[in-house]
């Protein structure tokens, strides 16, 4: 199974409401009624299946585990070699107890890869994405084989990319001559439009 967060296009650690909203959007998009008698029908069905699986997985495991650990044959991730020390921190992050988790992490002397990873997840929750990226990157460089860290990083990046995909899906274009022309026209126009 693919990373369910990526399938639904939400960031790791997204809230239940966000997951549900993303799920509803996607189901609408890939609904079989929309693709009847059309060459995309099979593809849409396949995609819908994936979406349903991802959604079920996240609904079942939300709040239990800190997120999605890379599975698919890998032994890392949850239940793998995570230390007991940080189990409580993971629970706090899941509950959204940012202050508690931050305090627990700053108390800890053990600044290993998992510490940086969890600190990064905490920053992600807070909306401090730059700190999130640099801490998860640090965790990855300290423990390059850990799939949980890599998956988290991929899902952070996928969120930003997902926005761009949506914009293009809605007809956003770049580098188009006409578009540039219109932009210039608008600049000139704006001069007499605004104060």
């Amino acid at each position: 199974m693919q990373n369910p967060y990526e399938v639904l296009g939400v960031r790791e650690g997204a809230s239940l409401e966000e997951i549900k909203a993303a799920y509803r959007e996607l189901v609408k998009k890939y609904h079989p009624d929309k693709h009847q008698d059309n060459p995309l029908q099979d593809l849409a069905e396949e995609k819908l299946q994936e979406i349903n699986e991802a959604y079920e997985y996240l609904m079942k495991n939300h709040g239990k585990a800190g997120g999605y650990g890379g599975r698919a044959g890998s032994s890392s991730g949850y239940g793998g070699y995570q230390s007991q020390e940080f189990a409580e921190v993971r629970r706090m992050i899941d509950r959204g107890d940012i202050i508690g988790a931050e305090a627990a992490l700053s108390r800890s002397r053990n600044r290993n890869a998992e510490w940086y990873f969890l600190y990064g997840m905490l920053m992600l929750r807070k909306g401090w994405y730059d700190e999130a990226i640099s801490n998860v990157q640090r965790a990855i460089s300290m423990d390059p084989g850990n799939m949980e860290y890599r998956n988290a990083m991929n899902s952070i990046m996928a969120t930003g990319a997902g926005y761009r995909t949506q914009a293009f899906g809605r007809g956003y274009t770049t580098n188009d001559e006409l578009c540039r022309l219109l932009q210039c026209y608008c600049c000139a126009d704006a001069l007499c439009d605004c104060i």
Partner: protein, 296 residues
């Protein structure tokens, strides 16, 4: 933060364009009615988006007039009036305009900003009556912002926090409390405001790198990514940090779009989506490419 949050005009429908103008003129008229003529000079596009979004949560009809305006006597314009959302956006616009002038004065000591800030004292007193909690909150965040600047804060997340919190608070439009799902809406609006604040702060910082270098002003990017004029030019520096800045900006935009996607929009949907997916992305790419284009 001037003029970053705008629609992508070529992709607007004519109808949407008119409505957008109607909100903009509505804000101007609201300022004139409640604050007098002079503060109208502070008018800008920054909070049209807030008015559009706040008005979108209920389906109450808009009151539209087509009339002349003293500032543009030649052409009749679409104007929205009697809208509490527009009045609120006007209040917030003036509140931030006041602090912008004060900040300019502290930076440059120019006569223009000194006179402006002094003239706006009366406006500020009135704001204290209309939106007292927001005034106090904004004032405190602005002083935090100034403090972090003074400390040469080396983290973009940390130095952006007061402005993001400020935007979070002003997006929490008090009128949302009248809606059915008040708590949920207020939470969503706060989240949208927070991330929009971060986006504005970061894009402004990236856009201002050259200017801040020249004036030796505080810029968190210059400090966090350790710009060293002995080793690289300003343009090389901008190119070096571009990908990281872009990743951050895209994450903010994803969160803003995600938050708006959960608000049930009863009106202004096309306009709001245009700003979210076209306007903000266009601006982001323009500013990120600005550095690269000059580097070539």
């Amino acid at each position: 933060m001037l003029g970053y949050v705008k629609p992508d005009k070529p992709d607007l429908k004519i109808k949407e364009y008119e409505i957008y103008g109607g909100y903009y003129c509505g804000i101007c008229k609201s300022i004139a009615r409640r604050y007098g003529q002079l503060p109208r000079l502070a008018l800008n596009y920054d909070f049209v988006f807030l008015a559009l979004l706040a008005a979108a949560v209920n389906s109450s009809p808009e009151h539209i007039k087509i009339e002349r305006c003293i500032i543009h006597p030649s052409k009749k314009r679409t104007i929205l009036y009697d809208s509490p959302e527009i009045d609120y956006a006007a209040d917030i616009l003036l509140l931030l305009a006041y602090y912008k002038l004060k900040d300019d004065y502290n930076d440059e000591r120019s006569l223009k900003s000194a006179v402006g800030a002094a003239l706006m004292k009366g406006t500020l007193n009135r704001l204290d009556r209309y939106v007292p909690e927001k005034c106090a909150y904004v004032r405190d965040r602005i002083s935090e912002l100034t403090r972090l600047e003074g400390e040469q804060c080396p983290s973009i997340d940390r130095s952006a926090e007061p402005f993001a919190k400020l935007m979070e608070e002003v997006f929490d439009y008090p009128g949302l409390q009248k809606e059915e799902n008040a708590a949920g809406l207020s939470k969503l609006f706060r989240r949208i405001g927070y991330h929009l604040g971060k986006w504005i702060y970061l894009i402004d910082a990236y856009d201002d790198i050259e200017g801040d270098m020249k004036n030796k002003s505080f810029n968190p990017l210059i400090i966090q990514f350790e710009f060293d004029p002995a080793k690289e030019t300003v343009l090389q520096f901008k190119e070096r940090i571009r990908e990281r800045v872009e990743q951050n900006l895209m994450l903010y935009l994803a969160e803003i779009a995600n938050g708006c996607g959960q608000v049930k929009l009863e009106k202004n949907k096309g306009l709001i989506e245009n700003i979210l997916y076209f306007g903000l992305l266009r601006k982001t790419e323009e500013i990120l490419n600005g550095g690269a284009a000059q580097a070539d």
